[in-house]
Symmetry: C2
Subunit: 252 residues, 2 copies
């Protein structure tokens, strides 16, 4: 049994909030079930980004000539485009109003994850956390220190897909979780090798958690139970392990 | 609360099995919880393909010159490559031992979904169902007729992703489910428009369900509860609605 339930009673997250302390306080409220070692605390990245101050005010952004040209082609705010460029190591596509970027972390996603929805104030945009695996490790350590339990921590964003409509939540940071479950070389129920079974557990957990939250930004944290076999005592390789290296990329 | 639990006690599925009848019989066993209207019955496509006879024997396949050439380049069985070509409307990439194909349904995936693991016998390969949305509708109608409840039915496969390691389960067929949840134009908690929130519910349900099953092929069916707000009385547009049309594709 896999179960995903949104954490109730979290306040709106602001800059310099101690997110781990807020999660810990909410988790002790009677309307929530207690956190356990085998749980996964799944956090929509915007809560992390806001707490870490990964927010930019557009009126402080000076768009470059390249940003101005792209903004004209894409019918976007040149300051917003400049922030996307600042967050990108490269831009794979810029057409039809969308920029598909490679972030400095190596994630391939629309607009380098820069988003105005659920931003703390008009005229601001939210960035991805600078080091989402580090953020996950920090929150995990704080929860362990405060509560004496050591759930895995997963930080997520909603990514589009090249060939499918809609977005799915994926892992951009994690700690205490094996992000990939490798069955390659293992055998099926009649002993034949499973040819290509290498499961993106962290991304599937992110998607499962998203089903349990409201999308208005009031439920950034979801607790998933039942995934104990993927939880590890050390922090593990992080969501970085999910990135396909550019040299293996067939579609860049 | 979203919950996913594997259906216990299903036999190995064979050609001409009545899959809906087997699911219905298993669902009535005491070790399983009853099926309800708001549930989603998530079925790994191999069970559907086997029941529908979507299986080919490699010793009956005559590889074409193109299949022989590709097989040599990719170090694969030319008969397996021929089956992949038969299942594809086009091949996007063929390199490093992998073929990324567009299936006749329009899915973009490795080897057109053709797979030897969990196949019914040595020397056979399993194809995707011919019409997975139709299969889902048929199973839903049969469950409704037999049990008097009308859960949604989702048929899944594990797809790789262009820029991320590992596979996630996605929807290849569905009935009774809104596959996409469209928040575009709706507002966040402080009234700002959610810029690009268009959620692939069917794919997230597929991924959530996969976390609840063992990978050895013995648990092809998982029941997900708690997604009532995405369940619809009519069968809906099916997983076909998740396909990005070729004209909108930036990476083909």
């Amino acid at each position: 049994l896999i179960a995903a339930v949104a954490l109730q009673g979290l306040p709106e997250i602001s800059s310099d909030d101690d997110l781990a302390a807020l999660i810990q306080a909410a988790a002790l409220q009677p309307e929530n079930t207690q956190l356990h070692d085998g749980d996964v605390v799944v956090i929509a990245h915007k809560a992390v980004s806001k707490a870490e101050g990964c927010v930019r005010r557009l009126d402080e952004v000076q768009p470059s000539a390249r940003a101005q040209q792209l903004a004209e082609e894409l019918d976007k705010d040149p300051r917003h485009v400049q922030v996307v460029l600042d967050e990108s190591s490269s831009v794979l596509r810029a057409t039809r109003g969308v920029m598909i970027c490679v972030t400095h972390h190596g994630f391939v996603c629309a607009n380098a994850g820069v988003d105005a929805s659920n931003a703390p104030a008009e005229g601001t945009v939210i960035l991805l956390p600078r080091d989402p695996d580090g953020s996950a490790r920090g929150i995990r350590a704080a929860l362990r220190a405060a509560l004496g339990v050591s759930p895995a921590v997963l930080i997520t964003d909603s990514f589009g897909r090249a060939w499918r409509h809609g977005q799915c939540d994926v892992a951009i940071g994690c700690a205490g979780l094996s992000p990939l479950d490798d069955w390659r070389g293992r055998t099926d129920s009649v002993g034949r090798e499973l040819s290509a079974t290498w499961i993106a557990i962290a991304d599937q957990l992110a998607s499962a958690a998203d089903l349990a939250r409201s999308k208005d930004g009031r439920q950034p944290v979801v607790v998933v139970s039942g995934a104990e076999r993927h939880i590890i005592a050390d922090d593990g390789p992080g969501a970085r392990a999910l990135l396909r290296p550019e040299a293996e990329d067939l579609f860049r």
